[in-house]
């Protein structure tokens, strides 16, 4: 069992859902995020799901639950890079995703959280 690496950038936790994500890994995703939040005291989480071509109902539930629990822990969370096929699947599953903040890519996700990339002179 390999965990998904959770990176910490400032006060943001950043994780990329791998392409070969299986159900076993998905089960630990929420747990990992929450543990890291607790340990690091981060204020926000960005989950990049751009490599997920297909989202099934299990994966959708993992994502929505992670979003909800993160919010309960007082942190903000943005899901970035949802593919068009995955979006259509989610719509067809009829899940309520209205309380999930999304962004097109990592950069706009960070921007949504109030961060901007800047070069240091």
């Amino acid at each position: 069992m390999k965990n998904i690496p959770v990176l910490k950038l400032g006060s943001i936790l950043f994780l990329t859902v791998p392409e070969n994500m299986n159900d076993a890994m998905a089960q630990y995703l929420e747990e990992d995020v929450l543990q890291q939040l607790h340990k690091t005291g981060a204020e926000a989480v960005v989950i990049d799901i751009s490599s997920l071509e297909i989202i099934d109902s299990f994966m959708a539930r993992v994502i929505t639950e992670t979003v909800q629990t993160t919010k309960v822990m007082g942190a903000r969370i943005v899901v970035v890079g949802m593919s068009s096929v995955a979006t259509i699947t989610l719509l067809e599953l009829g899940l309520d995703m209205s309380d999930i903040e999304t962004a097109m890519d990592l950069e706009s996700g960070l921007h949504k959280l109030g961060y901007r990339l800047q070069t240091i002179k």
Partner: protein, 264 residues
Amino acid sequence: MADKTEVIFSQEFLYSIFDLAPIGIIIANSQGVIEDANQYICSLTDYESEELVGQKVELLLPERFRGGHVALRDSFFAHPTIRMMGRNRELNAVTKSGSELPIEVGLAPIKSDGDLKVIVTITDVTMKREADNKMRALSIELEEVSTPILEVWEGVAVVPIIGSLDTDRAQKLLESTLAKMKDARFRVTILDITGLTCIDTSVAHHLLRLTAAIGLMGGHSVLTGISPEIAKTIVRLGVDLGELKTCSTLARGLNYAITVLEEC
């Protein structure tokens, strides 16, 4: 009844009905041998009646179908019912010169002299087939031109929805809009419904689904081109547009899109 038939319709008269009918008629036996063919089928295929009688019906079929037809013929005689031949398939007859002719074929079993035979009626559907093909091509073309996705500003797309929006078209629109949005990185998508012929709850549902999808992918959407009539209809139908941003005109929608871009 039999007497009456004899009085009104003489043998000759009945044969004339068969022979002069403006539809091709062939009588064939269970071995597929043509026993009679009327004038109309002769003029369609350029054969003389004498040339057809005694031949197998396969003579009038394109060569590629002749082999398979024998089994089909046998299955008809195994279950003789009145029916059209090859429903949902395009049938062709072949003329004496070898050219093909679009046809529709009806089959009807008949008992004659104790033998089971088949009355084959053949309609020339050249015009109908041409019209069908034209209509098909037109509807494909219409589909292509009716849902363009235009980049009108960097990161802003306009999707004019023209005509009607049924489930089929809504699904295609959803797929193409989302795919293009991802590729071209549209941050704001303007759905312009100026050209929408009518709006009902199902159309509203499709539009809301599309905007929900755009939102999930991290984009913004604006609904523009809302005429007073459409606004009234939306309210009267009790459609809840939720948090969907709406503008009366496309120009205002574009204006809004640019403000959204500046905020990003």
